[in-house]
């Protein structure tokens, strides 16, 4: 049964100064299906989708919607013609309510004389109808600033539907959602496809893709690798097609054994923020990978940032290498041999307009000023360049040169630069907060290998992660938190999805 494809992209090419981002890529999406788009970072997925959404104009190739050739001037034009996109990073207008966010730019109005009055009633009714159609439980008048990431995403989806979207592009929609929220998203996707809407689903999470998609298109280095029905694919196959080589293991071989020496001991730590973590105690040994699991809102990030001196603590003690530590700012922590790769790459990681080099040496420059000045007033640029180059090579960071502004690198490469920044400090205790979020399989594996290497060298790694396979595959022990309380610590070898989920959703039962 041949249907007219709802979206057909033929022979799309697009170049930027110095790079050919897309080279003769074709994509055919049938109505009422979920079409997954996969590839490593920098494979050209985002560029292709930006062409489909009118943000970029392709240099060559045609785009057809329902068999008719179209040309998009801009995103608004694409939306009017039936293509919508849910971006990975959402930018809702937080100070306005749900319905105004949905109808922004085309608010329904009543015309009285020359004045267009906002038709609040119609807007409310229309919004309500849309929300009910998609079974989203939201009040149209709620301020968007009060909503969580998942609900903000729902608003975007509702908005796409309100435009009468035939194709909705979703870029890493589950990257900032909890598992429960992701389930809700999948339900809505099922409803949309039942109504004939096609979804283009970009994700790095292979289990999700295998579960919800009908077809999978894989890209590599700006070229099309191929399109297959999801039924014919396995994780192994997808990975090998994405990276262009066989990849036998998701995680590196575990060869390290934690020592008995305690690296970090936290005693009854309570946050100064009454809504954050309470009375948390644990200890981490030298040469151990210590995973921290929990749902969004479990205060894992807050706990680690407090230990690192970024957030105030009300009571409790932190002991490092057997000594009581007083940490009030990041510099204290760095000097005690700690490093923290934060969760939000853009918000608290990269300095977008500075070069790869400046970004790499940033933490080192402050903590070990002497290293770059030799005790003198002026910086040793040669040394800084050499240090940065060392980690660009060691982490195989793809960048034209050290002077390139970090904002022009792909997400995975930015993450590696940040990792390099912290490795350069040569920490004894490396805290990683969602280190592999939104980066591709190849880069993930490299980061895992690096973690393994570090603990082999007798260092300690603490990893906050919301990805169960990663937590279980990498950690020696997993501490699970729930709503600011420590709900349990389990041995990595004995951990199962169910055990972690149980602990993550309840803390009263825990008794450790």
């Amino acid at each position: 049964m041949e249907q007219t494809p709802v979206l057909e992209m033929c022979g799309i090419s697009k170049s930027f100064p110095g790079v050919k981002a897309l080279d003769d890529v074709s994509l055919t999406v049938r109505p009422g299906t979920v079409h997954a788009l996969m590839g490593e970072n920098g494979a050209g997925k985002s560029t292709l989708m930006k062409c489909a959404f009118g943000l970029y104009q392709p240099d060559e190739g045609t785009i057809k919607i329902n068999g008719e050739e179209v040309h998009f001037d801009d995103a608004r034009d694409a939306m009017d013609k039936g293509v919508s996109m849910i971006h990975q990073e959402l930018h809702p207008i937080r100070t306005r309510n749900v319905m105004e966010n949905i109808w922004v730019g085309r608010v329904p109005y009543k015309r009285v004389g020359p004045i267009h009055w906002v038709d609040e009633k119609k807007m409310y009714a229309d919004t309500k109808a849309l929300l009910e159609q998609l079974e989203v439980k939201l009040d149209p008048r709620t301020m968007v600033g009060e909503l969580n990431a998942s609900n903000c995403q729902m608003i975007e989806i509702v908005r796409a539907v309100s435009y009468g979207a035939k194709v909705i592009i979703m870029d890493e929609p589950t990257s900032s959602l909890t598992e429960v929220e992701a389930e809700q998203l999948f339900k809505i996707i099922a409803q949309l496809t039942a109504q004939g809407v096609a979804i283009i689903y970009i994700s790095h999470k292979m289990d999700e893709i295998l579960r919800i998609s009908d077809e999978v298109t894989i890209m590599r280095d700006g070229k099309l690798v191929g399109t297959w029905p999801a039924k014919e694919l396995t994780m192994q196959l997808m990975v090998s097609r994405m990276v262009g080589r066989e990849m036998s293991n998701q995680f590196p071989q575990r060869t390290h054994t934690p020592s008995d020496e305690v690296m970090l001991e936290v005693k009854n730590l309570t946050s100064a923020n009454p809504r954050s973590f309470v009375d948390v105690s644990f200890s981490v040994r030298r040469g151990e990978i210590f995973g921290i699991g929990g749902l969004v809102g479990a205060q894992r990030t807050e706990l680690m940032e407090s230990i690192f001196g970024l957030r105030p603590v009300a009571s409790g003690e932190i002991w490092i290498k057997g000594q009581k530590a007083k940490i009030t700012c990041a510099q204290d922590a760095i000097q005690l041999g700690m490093a923290l790769l934060t969760e939000e790459r853009r918000a608290s990681g990269i300095i977008p307009m500075l070069s790869v080099m400046e970004n790499t040496v940033l933490a080192n420059q402050t903590a070990h000023t002497k290293q770059y000045t030799g005790g003198k007033l002026f910086l040793n640029d040669k040394q800084r360049g050499a240090d940065a180059q060392k980690y660009v090579d060691a982490l195989s960071i793809k960048t034209p040169d050290l002077k390139t502004q970090i904002q022009y690198l792909s997400g995975g490469n930015q993450q590696k630069v940040l990792l390099g920044r912290w490795l350069l400090v040569n920490p004894d205790l490396l805290i990683l907060d969602e280190p592999t979020r939104g980066i591709d399989v190849g880069a993930k594996y490299e980061i895992y290998t690096l973690m393994e290497q570090m603990v082999q060298e007798g260092k300690t790694v603490i990893m906050i992660s919301s990805e169960m396979p990663e937590l279980m595959g990498m950690s020696d022990r997993i501490m699970v938190m729930c709503e600011g309380h420590l709900s349990g610590i389990i041995n990595g070898a004995q951990a199962t999805d169910e055990k972690i989920m149980m602990l993550a959703s309840t803390y009263e039962q825990a008794n450790v």
Binding site: F16, A330, I350, I351, P352, M353, L362, A363, L379
Partner: protein, 335 residues
């Protein structure tokens, strides 16, 4: 294909060097109208001399802008510093001596005192912005008023009663009018300040940390940079620059009053932005800001030179500011 590439390059070139292109164009136009007289060493020296204190103010302002903040207190701080240094640099015999019993001091003293006053104002700004967390724009607006008020109160002290200062010591006046080998001291001082700022910005840890804080304060904090300290330092350096500029203004004009320095801060901000600083912080270079200052003074001087009303300078300046930003926005919006 080849043709396309060429036109692309021209476009990129114009984008990157629009400021310089405009300046060269203006100089050519003014030179043609004036029959070539504009292109002389004397004119160049005059323009640089007039720009000297503006350069110093703009350099200070650049620190604050690069660190991601704003500073509106510059102009009034220049005025206060000018009055203070003037009041300390008068001849003993001057009939309206501000401090009648003050002995004649070496010329360096009033300069250092005005730098210290500027430094104090800068530290106050830094404290209000980074400790009290008052938004920079409003904090420095408040400082601007406080400083102006303080200046007027000081200036109105008997026996001076708000009359313009004068009767400077020759040694102090020489800072503004003297020269060595035909190069005015003012130009030498301005270039020395630029060199110092350039070194500080590009060769020291402090410079790098200022860029980091301006680029992403949160990332800087996580990486162990003391953001409070950096903000204090940037405002303090800026204040010191304003103080120095105040004394230079007093010495150059041989006078001083509480209206000195009016709207210098806006000119300095405009010079920084036209000179390529990002209003959001994290970007800015000494040569860029230097040309930003010079271009405004070329306009100023050039229009008078060819006999146009100097009021035209405001119209032309305004157009250049808008044009420069319009080009800039396109430059960073690459796709």
């Amino acid at each position: 294909m080849l043709k396309e590439k060429k036109s692309f390059n021209l476009r990129a070139f114009l984008m990157n060097y629009a400021l310089y292109a405009i300046m060269v164009l203006m100089i050519i136009v003014i030179a043609v109208i004036s029959g070539g007289k504009f292109l002389s060493i004397r004119v160049l020296r005059d323009i640089l001399t007039q720009s000297a204190s503006r350069i110093v103010v703009a350099m200070g302002c650049m620190f604050v802008i690069v660190s991601g903040s704003a500073d509106l207190s510059g102009g009034r701080t220049v005025g206060f510093a000018a009055v203070i240094s003037g009041s300390l640099a008068q001849q003993a015999t001057y009939y309206l001596k501000f401090w009648p019993s003050l002995p004649e001091l070496p010329a360096i003293v009033p300069v250092l005192v005005s730098i210290a006053v500027g430094l104090g104002v800068g530290c106050f700004n830094g404290f209000v912005v980074s400790k009290l967390k008052v938004p920079a724009f409003l904090a420095t607006l408040g400082t601007q008023m406080i400083v102006y008020g303080a200046n007027c109160l000081y200036f109105n002290k008997a026996p001076n009663n708000s009359q313009p200062l004068g009767g400077y010591l020759d040694s102090f006046g020489a800072i503004g009018t003297g020269s060595v080998l035909g190069v005015p001291y003012l130009i030498i001082i301005a270039f020395a300040v630029m060199l110092a700022v350039w070194i500080l910005q590009t060769k020291t840890c402090l410079g790098k940390e200022i860029f980091a804080v301006g680029g992403n304060p949160e990332a800087a904090r996580v990486s162990g940079i003391n953001v409070f300290k950096i903000q204090m330092i940037t405002y303090a350096i800026a204040g010191a620059c304003y103080g120095l500029a105040g004394s230079l203004e007093a010495a150059r004009t041989g006078s001083a009053s509480s209206t000195y320095g009016l709207s210098y801060e806006l000119d300095a901000i405009a010079s920084c932005i036209v000179g390529g600083c990002s209003a959001g912080g994290g970007v800015g270079t000494v040569p860029g800001v230097f040309f930003g200052v010079i271009i405004f003074n070329v306009i100023n001087y050039g229009l008078t030179f060819i006999g146009l009303s100097s009021y035209w300078q405001f119209v032309v300046k305004g157009i250049i500011i808008i044009g420069a930003i319009a080009v800039d926005v396109r430059k960073y919006n690459k796709h």
